[in-house]
């Protein structure tokens, strides 16, 4: 079966690129799973989503926290353009947990604090990407 050519890039660097069997991302419409020979799609990713790249061939799945951006699919090429992204293996779990706690504290103080809500979302995505509960 044909493989997908996947590239995960953020404005400051290329985070990962390689081949994969399947890519699962979360767009504003919901989760989207992409397998080889998928129709061309351009989707907007949600803030604080988790991207999962199934590598197949016994390789471990690549998991990354992706904050905003796009996914574009054409001719078995998948590009994930993230405004900010972090591989699960690179996440500093303690820092993310700390950020989540702080965000939750400010949400409790002020329920309409949109910035804190966003920070909490991001922190959760980072924790989930790292394989922790959040």
């Amino acid at each position: 079966m044909a493989k997908l050519q996947v590239g995960v890039v953020s404005p400051e660097r290329e985070i990962w690129s390689g081949e994969a069997d399947m890519v699962v991302a979360k767009t504003v419409d919901g989760e989207i799973g992409i397998m080889p020979r998928h129709a061309p799609v351009l989707g907007v990713l949600v803030e604080g989503g988790v991207l999962r790249v199934k590598r197949g061939d016994g390789g471990a799945d690549l998991v990354a926290a992706v904050h905003g951006g796009f996914i574009s699919v054409a001719d078995n090429q998948v590009s994930v353009l993230a405004e900010a992204a972090e591989l699960g293996s690179e996440v500093d779990v303690a820092a993310a947990r700390d950020a989540l706690e702080r965000a939750q504290a400010s949400i409790e103080a002020d329920a309409d604090d949109a910035e804190a809500a966003l920070a909490a979302k991001r922190a959760r995505a980072r924790l989930r990407a790292a394989g922790e509960d959040a």
């Binding site: 890039v9 404005p11 504003v28 061309p40 799609v41 351009l42 989707g43 796009f70 353009l81």
Partner: protein, 300 residues
């Protein structure tokens, strides 16, 4: 004579310390160019992909009418983003840039469009405030090491002004592009409204596929276009940073060379002056001794 010798010695000392500073600046700049170039290269994949996505959306939808792509019929104001450096010591880097920005402003005025400068970098800000020119906005403190957050901040301000009814109708960027270590060129680009090229020729890589959009074409454009502008600005900032270091390295190299040449000339003059002093002293002593000898001979 002694005074001249002292003067030369003092000048050599001062030129030598200047040379030390310029040499250090040169070395710092050379090491930073490499880093700046690496950052430029790291940003390339994102930029390539986002440009591809924009062209896919724009050519895939039959009628593109998004506020960010449509040119106003009677543009009244144009925002000009001028990317200067925070520090000097970089030769003609900022002067060239500001001259080009002035030329663009002249062109815009000829078209009946009022240019509004948006300035990044302390040097550009100083230039504008010295002349009492109003600025749309200004940013500073990151010219030699810009991050994406800086680009986003600038883009947000510009897009906000662009969307405003009474704001700006066009966005231009004047920045320095890094061609090579030795060549940097000032470039003027229009970012918004997007220039859509209508061609009948098929693109080299075959027709772009028809995309499905999630959620909708308009929704994708709404988020895609600001990101595209951010990425253009980020690219301009990175290129400008690399160019700044390259320009500084060159300027500091020629300053160091000049200082070394000056030291050589002054040393020569100093040696001459010292020799002249010694010669004079000897001839004075000999003259004095002769006079004494003559006087003694006269007595006998």
């Amino acid at each position: 004579m002694g005074a001249q010798l002292r003067l030369l010695r003092r000048r050599i000392k001062s030129v030598r310390s200047t040379a030390k500073i310029t040499r250090a600046q040169e070395l710092i700049a050379s090491s930073r160019i490499v880093k700046a170039q690496a950052r430029m290269a790291a940003a390339v994949p994102y930029e390539r992909e986002i440009t591809r996505a924009v062209s896919a959306v724009v050519s895939g939808t039959t009628s593109v009418s998004h506020p960010l792509t449509v040119a106003k019929e009677n543009p009244a104001k144009a925002g000009v983003l001028i990317v200067t450096s925070d520090r000097g010591f970089a030769g003609g880097f900022n002067a060239n840039l500001l001259r080009e920005a002035e030329a663009l402003a002249g062109l815009l005025r000829d078209r009946g469009v009022m240019p509004v400068p948006f300035v990044a970098g302390r040097k550009g800000i100083a230039w504008h405030s010295f002349r009492g020119r109003p600025m749309g906005a200004s940013w500073s403190g990151f010219s030699d090491n810009p991050t994406y957050a800086h680009a986003k901040e600038i883009a947000d301000t510009l897009i906000e002004a662009f969307k405003d009814e009474n704001g700006i109708d066009e966005i231009h960027i004047v920045s320095t592009s890094f061609v090579s270590m030795l060549t940097q060129a000032v470039v003027v680009k229009r970012v918004l409204p997007l220039e859509i090229e209508v061609t009948t020729e098929a693109p080299a890589a075959g027709p772009l596929p028809y995309f499905e959009f999630e959620p909708t074409a308009d929704g994708v454009l709404d988020t895609l276009l600001p990101r595209y502008v951010e990425s253009r600005i980020f690219n301009a900032l990175l290129q400008s940073a690399a160019s700044e270091h390259a320009a500084r390295r060159r300027a500091m190299k020629s300053a160091t060379d000049n200082a070394n040449e000056l030291i050589r000339v002054f040393t020569q003059q100093m040696n001459q002056a010292r020799q002249a002093e010694i010669t004079q002293e000897i001839s004075e002593i000999v003259g004095g001794a002769n006079a004494l000898a003559d006087a003694a001979a006269g007595k006998e």
